[in-house]
């Protein structure tokens, strides 16, 4: 068995990707909407179609897609840099996020020529936005037990079932749904397929779900005998599980698994600098830097595997698990620090940012695969199961 730990080798961002960073910083200096820290902390949960279209106009949506579809044809390293810079300042990237990260690459990899010609240029122009159609009420961590079913009809499919926890589902145009096309839920990974579902079709109801922070960032969607055309099927019938797993390597390893609390950390540091009160927090602050510098190298290591055309599913799971632990450590420490001396009140916007990030922090190790699922995958990768 190849040693999983030997697969995470030091890798460097190539010079071209670093040069690209300057362009991204210039763009953000001009176009980042001014917003307080608690708003910027929403970053890839925040749906801002106008900002996504500005990015698209600059050529930076669908960045890894080929030029003939309107993509920027950038490698995974340049995408890492783009995403890192966007998240570093809390840009509202949620609208195009899923299409750029995984739906576009999925269609490119598994879609027909007609599907590529149809969807990819519109993704790159920021005209259509995608959401993930994986979880169901009874298929969360146990994703293979999905019960939503597509039945073959003449000239198409009939879709019936339900998806849930779909980030920004009520604002998106399409979902790529993992559904059963043959067999029963007991058949597990066999008999699953993926469909591109136009969310405006008759028979679809989408309801936003309000979260504990007061946002309606996710939703539930109901498919009541939705008639899908033949070409809604993406990839091969029965290959859904394999395709979804290829998607998850993209979904799990990126900077968004390290930087969810970064705007809060920036705002706290600004406060400590302004008030000259960092002295007794230095060890915490340095520890954040130590962890983040290391995690970033791990994430770049996984990115180098994506760039080489590999599908580092287990390595991505490893980086996501330890990355989200850091993301959760930041609000935990800052929350304690903000209440360390009631006679020294902190600025309102800092308290609001800490409040928001603390509230949503549990989701960091839920979305994209729970901590327990990831640790099980790592154990399997180590050869323990």
């Amino acid at each position: 068995m190849p040693d999983l730990l030997d697969n995470l080798q030091l890798a460097r961002l190539p010079r071209a990707a670093e040069n690209f960073r300057r362009e991204v910083k210039e763009f953000l200096a001009d176009h980042l909407p001014h917003a307080p820290a608690e708003v910027r902390s929403r970053s890839w949960m925040a749906f801002d179609a106008e900002f996504s279209r500005k990015l698209a106009a600059r050529g930076w949506v669908g960045v890894t897609l080929p030029k003939r579809y309107g993509g920027a044809d950038l490698d995974s390293f340049s995408r890492f840099v783009l995403v890192e810079e966007l998240l570093a300042v809390g840009a509202p990237v949620g609208a195009h996020w899923i299409a750029d990260r995984q739906s576009g690459p999925l269609i490119l990899k598994f879609g027909s020529d007609a599907q590529k010609d149809d969807y990819l240029p519109r993704i790159c122009r920021g005209e259509i936005f995608f959401c993930i159609g994986m979880s169901e009420p009874n298929a969360g961590s146990d994703l293979a037990s999905v019960g939503t079913r597509a039945v073959r009809k003449e000239n198409g499919w009939r879709l019936k079932g339900q998806k849930i926890w779909t980030t920004n589902g009520h604002k998106c145009d399409y979902t790529i749904a993992l559904v059963r096309t043959s067999g029963a839920p007991t058949d597990r990974q066999k008999g699953l397929s993926q469909f591109i579902v136009d969310l405006r079709l008759p028979g679809i109801t989408i309801r936003p779900i309000v979260d504990l922070a007061g946002d309606a960032h996710f939703s539930e969607m109901f498919f009541n005998d939705v008639e899908l055309p033949d070409d809604a099927l993406v990839g091969s019938e029965g290959d859904g599980w394999k395709q979804v797993n290829a998607e998850l390597a993209f979904e799990r390893s990126g900077p968004e698994r390290l930087y969810s609390s970064i705007v809060l950390l920036d705002r706290w540091l600004q406060f400590l600098r302004e008030t000259g009160t960092a002295q007794d927090k230095l060890e915490h602050i340095g520890r954040f830097a130590t962890h983040l510098a290391t995690l970033r190298q791990m994430s770049i290591s996984v990115t180098s595997k994506l760039a080489a055309g590999e599908s580092p599913v287990v390595e991505a799971a490893l980086v996501k698990d330890i990355g989200t632990e850091f993301e959760q450590m930041v609000p935990a420490v800052i929350e304690a620090a903000l209440g360390a001396d009631p006679s020294q009140p902190c600025p309102d916007d800092l308290v609001r940012a800490a409040g928001y990030v603390s509230q949503v922090a549990p989701s960091f190790s839920l979305r994209g695969g729970t901590r327990e699922i990831l640790r099980g995958m790592i154990a399997r990768g180590l050869g323990l199961r």
């Binding site: 030091l10 927090k281 230095l282 602050i285 130590t290 962890h291 330890i322 323990l384």
Partner: protein, 333 residues
């Protein structure tokens, strides 16, 4: 290539049995001679001075092996010492260790507290403030650490001891170097502790199956793997962070990250092993005792994180990400 050659010596002459014997007081002469005769002490000396001309990245693999084999000699320090001087012959022969600190008492004597590997070193290099100084251990008043198996000693030299070392290396760089070497030693020892624990989890049967089949054990192994991987990459990045010397800031990250992981990795390794893991006869203790000693050596995570915290607060970088990017990046060529 250097690493393979050194490993072939270590796998024969630095087995757990050899390590135990040297810890009990047997002379390390045979191992020392084998390494020195093969020319490995001159690995980092320039090629035109008869050395190996190895890079820092090349040295990383060697120091990781020193950790993984629990090499009971300051081999990493002795090799790295060649980079502190212009000519290798400025250094005395034999094994050299680094002092984490040097204090001058009111009577002028010089005191180096808690010097790793001192018992098995012939010389100590210490930072005398304006110069690096080299001291023979034989001239010192020596106090053993008193920690079971640990060759650390505190040493005191009389007034006027210590020879100045003509070295272009600044204090800050010397301190970072001692920390960096221990970061890679920790990475190597952690990987070996992890491998032993994996093997044990697969072999040990309870309730009719190997304990590695239990989810509670699997998740602990996954967490351990994450910290071993993080430690390795942090240390490797620091070794690759600069030339002629590694970037001290990257060294700080490496030592802080590996030191924090060391405690956790040792704890999980012992937890999974159960009672056999804390016996003298089982090999795990050779590595976990070192994880604890090396965590403290040349500054624990508390020290280095505080240094980094100060830099972070004083930094003019616009964002956290900009600051963090600057830490482990290799300087642009």
């Amino acid at each position: 290539m250097f690493a393979e050659a050194i490993e072939s010596i270590l796998s024969e002459q630095c087995t757990p049995a050899h390590v135990r014997a040297i810890e009990r007081g047997t002379t390390p002469q045979a191992l020392a001679t084998a390494i020195a005769d093969a020319g490995f002490l001159e690995l980092m000396a320039p090629e035109d001075a008869g050395g190996g001309g190895a890079s820092w990245r090349g040295l990383f693999d060697v120091v990781v092996l020193c950790g993984a084999y629990a090499v009971p000699l300051p081999l990493a320090q002795t090799i790295a010492a060649r980079t502190l001087v212009a000519q290798p012959d400025q250094l005395p022969p034999g094994f050299i260790t680094f002092a984490p600190s040097l204090a001058r008492s009111s009577n002028g004597s010089l005191y180096a507290a808690h010097v790793p590997f001192a018992r098995v070193s012939s010389h100590v290099i210490a930072d005398g403030g304006t110069h690096l100084l080299v001291f023979p251990t034989a001239d010192a008043e020596r106090v053993p650490s008193g920690i079971h198996g640990d060759p650390m000693e505190s040493l005191r030299w009389r007034v006027g001891s210590g020879e100045q070392l003509a070295s272009p290396v600044a204090s800050q760089q010397f301190a970072a170097l001692g920390a960096l070497l221990h970061a890679a030693l920790l990475a190597g020892a952690m990987k070996r502790a992890f491998d032993l624990t994996m093997r044990y989890a697969n072999e040990r049967v309870q309730f009719g199956k190997s304990i590695g089949k239990f989810q509670a054990i699997q998740h602990q192994m996954s967490v351990m793997a994450e910290h071993v991987a993080a430690s390795r990459i942090a240390a490797e990045a620091a070794f690759a962070s600069g030339s002629p010397m590694p970037n001290p800031v990257a060294c700080a990250v490496a030592k802080a990250r590996t030191s924090e992981a060391a405690q956790l990795v040792a704890s999980i390794a012992h937890g999974v092993h159960g009672a056999i893991g804390v016996t003298e006869e089982y090999d795990l203790q050779l590595y976990t005792r070192r994880l604890h000693a090396w965590r403290i050596a040349h500054g624990s995570e508390s020290y280095w994180n505080r240094q980094l915290g100060r830099m972070f607060v004083d930094s003019a970088e616009a964002t956290t990400v900009d600051f963090v990017r600057s830490l482990l990046e290799a300087p642009t060529a």
